[in-house]
């Protein structure tokens, strides 16, 4: 499995009347072919902005000011609009949150579906149409030959999201960005859509960036998880480690705030006290300081870095609490590299 996407310490800023506001800061993650990464975090923590930064779909006043985004051998952070247009829909495509408004009401399903197919795959009108019908069948739309000539208002939310998935996957993208694809759907449909995405991912080896705030969805879908807080990745690891052994105080707080079926009836759910700091005046030190049960003096003054702590699985944390483990890792890592060097020489 080759490396597909490498996001390295990107910083996304928005120019506003009151000066620049940093929405995403030092976000890094990487993704291999066929792998699924979930970006998790509460509203406004920069999940969507991260994905929009990759796609160059930020509003006019937003831009990636630092860091790099490597997709295969291209640097997306500095790609031109013309290059991006070739990539969008073809190599990377996207599914949005609101299936009810993601389809153009004045064009038929077929018009919208075949447009991208004809554009990126150079099919003729008839070929594109039969391919579109095939895609609709693939995503589980019944009576696809009829539906293709209908207008979107006749379809339910679940059906529309299926059409959106068909649109996004029709040009066989290498990377699919799904921005809360199931949030607007009711739970039974949610499960179907997730299953469908999983099936299509396994068939076509598409990598997925899934943005969600639902840890249930994470457990269902993810290979890797990046937990985001206030525009930064605070913890990144594979999905099993995250649920078995969460480390960062924020992740721990999130885990505690999920209702559990074994909880006693009268138990109140935990919540994390306080609220997210405003993007306009981020604290100098740790951004979780105000709300952290383990806050120390140095958290206020110093900024923690995202550092790996364990050797077995990739597990990185942005917290001073685990500095010992980080040092251990660094030491072991250095020893290992040293040993490798000796072997090779």
């Amino acid at each position: 499995m080759g490396e597909l996407l490498k996001v390295d310490k990107i910083k996304t800023e928005f120019q506003t009347d009151k000066g620049p506001v940093t929405s995403v800061d030092e976000v890094s993650f990487d993704l291999k072919e066929g792998e699924t990464i979930c970006l998790v975090g509460e509203s406004g923590c920069g999940k969507s902005v991260t994905s929009l930064s990759i796609m160059h779909l930020l509003d006019r006043n937003g831009s990636v000011t630092e860091g790099s985004i490597r997709f295969e051998d291209k640097d997306l952070a500095h790609a031109s609009e013309a290059e991006m247009r070739k990539i969008r829909g073809n190599d990377i495509s996207m599914i949005f949150q609101e299936p009810m408004t993601s389809l153009n009401p004045v064009l038929t399903i077929g018009d919208q579906l075949t447009e991208g197919i004809r554009l990126h795959m150079n099919y003729s009108r008839a070929e594109a149409r039969s391919y579109a019908i095939e895609m609709l069948k693939k995503v589980g739309i019944p009576r696809a030959e009829g539906i293709i000539d209908e207008y979107p208002h006749k379809l339910s939310g679940g059906m529309r999201q299926r059409v959106m998935i068909a649109m996004a996957l029709s040009c066989k993208p290498k990377l699919l960005i799904a921005d809360e694809p199931t949030t607007a759907l009711d739970v039974t449909i949610q499960a179907q859509i997730l299953k469908l995405m999983k099936k299509l991912r396994d068939e076509s080896n598409t990598a997925i960036i899934l943005i969600t705030h639902d840890l249930g969805v994470v457990a269902e879908m993810a290979d890797k998880v990046a937990v985001m807080y206030a525009g930064q990745v605070v913890e990144e690891t594979d999905v099993y480690t995250l649920f078995d052994n969460p480390k960062h105080p924020y992740t721990l707080g999130l885990m505690k705030s999920i209702p559990h079926i074994t909880n006693p009836d009268d138990m109140r759910l935990n919540s994390i006290p306080g609220s997210v700091p405003s993007a306009r005046n981020m604290p100098k030190g740790c951004r979780f300081y105000d709300r952290c049960p383990h806050a120390m003096k140095r958290c206020l003054a110093e900024k923690p870095e995202l550092k790996p702590i364990e050797d077995k699985q990739a597990h990185s944390i942005r917290c001073f609490l685990y500095e010992e483990e980080e040092k251990d890792y660094e030491k072991k890592h250095a020893e290992k590299q040293h040993a490798e060097k000796e072997v090779s020489s």
Binding site: K86, R88, F96, E98, N104, G158, M159, Q192, K195
Partner: protein, 310 residues
């Protein structure tokens, strides 16, 4: 189809919910948007009369060479003759058949009405789309230009321009067309501002569509309804504008016939009082043409814009 749950082979994950969705999909043919607009429009009685009258005028204009009893420029021996069997609406002071001139005048009004509006709708749509979609300094530039055009004393500018490039059917169509776009541009820009925030436009960008494609294929159809209504009223005012210009001698010049230049003969008090066949028919035709177009516009507006009043 029985009620037995028998999921399709292609879609193994289908559960009960979507299977029932399958039944929902096979609902009876719902009426399309176009049908709904048609139905509402037909309910508007005056609008239907308007369509009938306008179609009649259109037919007269198209068939003018066939149905006109005489050549409109041919001069007969009788001047200012009252209506008779030979000349149904009499003759004018030069001795031309009024009926024939009236029929050929329809061509001018229709040509100016539709031609000028087509020109300015095209200009207005392009400028409005570009201004609304790109925003920023492009928007600023186009909208200030619009303000400038809107603050011209419209009629004066047209008079001046026509007198510079010379009065003719083509020139007045062009001038009215080149000056009429600001209202359309504003209208389109306003619609685009809200439509471009819709997810389907973002989805279009995310699928890699080119900007012109997004503008004309995805945004424009959603903004078309108010443009259509506005353009219809525009046809009426363009017809009046042509008549006024021709009346002032700045439009279609004799010997070519236009309803406006036929009215010029009614400038004298003797014609007004004793030769009504010279000015009532062209006046009436202008009235009918403008009124019918306005009724059509009213009907369209009610049919298109009252989305929820079923």
């Amino acid at each position: 189809m029985g009620m037995k749950l028998n999921p399709n082979k292609n879609v193994p994950e289908m559960t009960g919910t979507e299977t029932s969705g399958q039944m929902v999909v096979q609902f009876e043919k719902e009426e399309t948007y176009l049908h709904m607009v048609m139905r509402r429009f037909l309910k508007h009685r005056l609008a239907c009369v308007g369509v009938a009258v306008f179609l009649l005028i259109l037919l007269i204009a198209l068939l003018a060479p066939v149905i006109a009893p005489q050549d409109p420029a041919k001069i007969f021996n009788e001047f200012e003759a009252p209506p008779s069997a030979a000349h149904w609406l009499g003759t004018d002071p030069v001795g031309r058949d009024v009926m024939s001139r009236l029929i050929f005048g329809a061509q001018v009004s229709i040509a100016v009405g539709i031609g000028a509006v087509a020109i300015y709708v095209a200009i207005g749509i392009v400028l409005g789309l570009v201004a609304g979609y790109f925003g920023g300094w492009v928007d600023m530039l186009i909208m200030r230009l619009t303000d400038v055009f809107m603050s011209f004393p419209y009629f004066m500018v047209i008079l001046v321009l026509v007198s510079i490039i010379g009065p003719s059917l083509f020139n007045i169509t062009l001038v009215i067309g080149l000056l009429g776009w600001p209202a359309i541009a504003r209208l389109v820009r306003g619609s685009v501002l809200s439509i471009k925030e819709m997810d389907y436009v973002k989805a279009g960008v995310a699928l890699g569509y080119s900007t012109p494609k997004i503008l004309f294929q995805h945004i424009l159809p959603n903004a078309l309804a108010p443009i259509l209504v506005n353009a219809t009223f525009g046809v009426a005012s363009a017809i009046i504008m042509e008549a006024s210009l021709s009346f002032l001698g700045m439009g279609v010049r004799p010997p070519a016939a236009s309803w406006g230049n036929m009215l010029t003969q009614a400038e004298s008090i003797t014609v007004l009082s004793s030769q009504p066949w010279l000015w009532i028919p062209p006046g009436l035709m202008i009235l009918l043409a403008v009124l019918s177009v306005n009724f059509i516009g009213d009907g369209l507006r009610d049919a298109i814009e009252s989305q929820n009043a079923k």
